[in-house]
Amino acid sequence: MTSVRDWAEPNPVTENRGGVIGKGVDRYEGALKVTGTAPYAYDTVAPSPPAIGVLVTATIPRGRVTSVDTAAAEAAPGVQLVWTHLNVPAQAPRGTRANPRSQRASNPALGSDRVEYYGQSVAFVVADTFENARAAAELVKVAYAAEPAVVDFMASFDQATLPPDEEDVHIGDFHGAFAAAPVTIDETYFSPIQNHVQMEPCATIAWWEGDKVTVHTSIQMVKGGQHALAETLAIPSSDVHLLTRYIGGGFGGKGQPYDDLILSALAARALKRPVKVAYTRQQMFHGTIHRPAVDMRVRLGAEPNGRLTAFAVEATTHCARAATFTEHAANFSRNLYAAPNRLTGHRLVRMDLPHAGPMRAPGEAPGMLSLECAMDELAEKLGLDPIELRIRNEPDIDPETGKPFSIRQLVRCMTEGAQRFGWERRNPVPGQVRDGRWMVGMGMAAAIRGNFLLPAKAGVRIDAGGIITLRQGMTDIGTGTYTILAQITAETLGVPLGHVRVEIGDSDFPPAPGSGGQFGAATAGSAAFEAGMNLRRALTELAVGDPNSPLYGGPAEYVTFENGVIAIENRSETLAALVGRAAPDGIYVEGSISPAADARDYSQHTYGAHFAEVGVNQVTGEVRLRKMFGVFAAGRILNAKTAKSQITGGMIWGVGTALTEVNAVDPRFGSFVNQDMAEYLAPVHADIVDLDAMFLDEADDKANPMGIKGVGELGIAGAGAAIANAIYNATGVRLRDYPMTPDKVLAGLMAKGL
């Protein structure tokens, strides 16, 4: 098996002779996207004109469908079918995994009369046009027998239990140390339900050719979608061809298949014509997953010098009864600060709400909102600068596991960030700085997010013209995957970027796990790198074995690849010349990556530090960002432009988290209050001013052969806490209930007599 030691050897990517790695090159598919010509799933042109399906969704949180009146819908213009649980075609029962290698089990749509959450699909209408389908869907009348539902999280803590297969982590004697600590913090923080609100709703177009179905859909995991559809329809996965070429945002919300995938395939089979289905914007809020609310109690005990002696982060969260998911909001804290006595753990409440699930930086995103404010509160109690407090608790080894860090530049992120942001301008006494009616303050927070490598494959082909095509069952959810795969391939093979094509999002291609958990670039990229290295070997062999090549006879170990030319010192030819002559049908090889056997011997994370300056309107309690800056350490950066876009995008999510994003549950209905993008308040351009970020030079040779790490989620981790701390510094009002909307801020100001 591979060892991380094998990855320490120099290679074409780490040497970067072509200079393609790290360069802020434009997005590979950027022109297609900005001109509106990139075909997203719903735009895909089918072999014949599709019929259109529309979902009808439940309006109770729990109970039973007692009757469905479909007569009016069936008689409506253009309607081709109306399905309910009574007449939907047979599907495998939920959870079926006929093929034990399937990455996802059966997930039938309209599977029974049971309603498990508000917004669950209860009927499905297909018509010749979208307009007819939607009008007919409104004619379906569903009657329910409602049952008592648990939908009020804050009122249900008595039902909280340990998540499955999980225990609290105790190290040392937290309770004793906390009781004995001279300085303590014991506060509770709340992060509410949030929605992904991807620009592109879930959508699928499906058609059949014989026993095989082709689906173009919007999903982050190619194999997961392929297997889920195959298991649900009880057909071999080889009969499902799933494509997901362009995805308008995922953020974890498209890590799983939804009813659009299943019902479009079933309806296309029944009607013998292509069928396409999209969720409406309103249906996205209930019909897909959300980030659950988290209640977090943080207890810190410290010596007067700031050294932590007792450390506890305990998170209570919720998920749907039928879909276990734990928002691991305390996990990050296990690797962040030194403290000998520690307690971390989670509690889970099962509820009758729509399904909770992963959303960008699951765990860290809500979790860091608690501890990174508690550290600010502790720093003030101790009379220490918040950065100094964190430096005094900087561990030499992982504070929970005792393992060495692969590399950890958290302190440099904080000190470098402080200098560039101008942290010395901060008045440590809150409420001192004014700009007209605006109270001005600064806050900071640390960032940590794990780094992961999963098994993946990639295929790479060179044709007789010297054009290299990378093929991989990977996805690009808007992160820049196309672009970095092209860069890795170009640099590995020493060819100009323009000689590389990237084809992804196809279940026929060598599989990669997809986009999620900020593992995409490292995982898919490393497989692409290995495939590229295998092609180098194949091309070397071809050249030194070809009597017509100037490289004939070798020595193979001296072969170089630069600018599309293969050479041994002064003997050279272009790759196009070599392949065109010696392998006119082209060469195709595959490569793969697996986690190193000893990778888990290291504590491996990405790190950062956020700095925020806000203004708080003393009259109204409105908070507006004035400046935000972050410094991050996340391994070797593949593309300066897309990496920064990912990181600043995460920071903007932090702004939304701190100030605006929440979806309240109406306990009378078991539904979310906000169901569109005018009411679910993600930040708009006017909210984001003077926001910037930079990366420290870093290469993590324990991560993968290229020393790269993920950047997709790090930017959100801790970002909201920096803003909360800035609000406190501006006003002296300490809020612990996110988001910090004007009503809460104003109540705090008025309580202080302001």
Partner: protein, 315 residues
């Protein structure tokens, strides 16, 4: 969305006739609100009469020294008009505080006045709403939101009128000119255009079926300063938590009632020499709210005091 028919009116008289004679018909201008509501089947007209291309898109000086604004003039053009910016800055600022650039490019003056509430439950057809389905009940009362009316609400409805522009027009003592179903004309003060909800919140104005707003008339700019302020959760594209417009001695509040709320008690207090804070307090003394909306009373009081001060220093 229900199927509907569409016609482009040849002239105002034909448009008014077409809507007056057909109970399922509605006027369509910018469509920025109506079309969204139709997609959700909150509005279900069977026929649309497009008045967006009738010759009501201009602006002209009145003999009285004010301005006559065509009902079909876009919000973007109105806010950018040099005379409006110079003489009625409260109006320009109010319009620019509303919606988004894209919406303001399409939305019209008359349509802005007649936009419907943004109450979450009005928009959710799965929930009771007296405004949408008279008699079904008000889901907003007792709901988790804190954004309802604090003046003039009823047990049937606590929704608010969310137009920014209408608040400024109320402070400016503007009027609307309409063409009535019989082809005649009448003039209505903007502050009298909308109704309080009472027992029939589905009736939002006193306009007759088919009555068309052809213009908004501004009187000469008032003596004294003007100011507009809007509080919102995010910096753009969010409806207001509270708005205040001040024009000379007139004060109006937004997002606090079923209609743009003229703050007459505040005006009277100011006329009697009260301070801005005293005037604001005099108005909100008449506010009424449950616990969830109580914070809004303080917000409006503080915002009104600050905005009246700002108008004073803008004099």
């Amino acid at each position: 969305m229900k199927p509907f028919t569409y016609e482009r009116a040849a002239d105002a008289k034909a448009a008014v006739k077409a809507v007056a004679e057909n109970p399922g018909a509605k006027f369509l201008a910018g469509g920025t609100n109506l079309l969204d509501l139709m997609k959700l089947e909150i509005e279900t007209p069977t026929h649309l009469v497009d008045v967006g291309r009738l010759p009501f898109a201009g602006i002209e000086a009145t003999d009285e020294g004010g301005l006559r604004i065509g009902g079909a003039m876009t919000n973007a053009k109105l806010a950018a008009h040099p005379k409006v910016r110079e003489l009625y800055p409260v109006l320009a600022r109010a319009i620019l505080a509303g919606a988004s650039g894209q919406l303001r490019n399409k939305a019209t003056t008359a349509g802005n006045l007649l936009q419907r509430t943004r109450c979450d439950y009005f928009y959710d057809t799965a929930k009771p709403c007296n405004k949408r389905e008279p008699g079904s009940g008000c889901s907003a009362i007792g709901g988790p939101g804190g954004y309802g009316a604090i003046f003039g609400a009823s047990e049937a409805c606590i929704a608010t009128h969310t137009s920014d522009m209408a608040v400024a027009l109320t402070a400016l003592d503007a009027s609307v000119e309409t063409m009535t179903p019989d082809g005649g004309a009448r003039t209505i003060k903007v502050e009298a255009l909308h109704r309080l909800p009472g027992a029939s919140p589905q009736v939002e104005t006193d306009l007759a079926a088919g009555e068309l707003i052809t213009a908004v008339v501004l009187p000469p700019p008032p003596a004294g300063g003007q100011a507009y302020a809007k509080v919102r959760d995010r910096a753009s594209y969010a409806h207001g938590l509270a708005m205040v417009a001040v024009a000379g001695g007139r004060v109006a509040f937004g997002a606090v009632a079923h209609k743009p709320w003229r703050a007459e008690k505040a005006e009277a207090a100011l006329a009697a020499g009260a301070s801005a804070a005293e005037a604001a307090s005099a108005e909100v003394a008449g506010a009424d709210a449950d616990d969830r909306r109580a914070h809004k009373i303080a917000l409006v009081r503080r915002l009104a005091a600050a905005t009246i001060e700002d108008a004073g220093s803008a004099r």
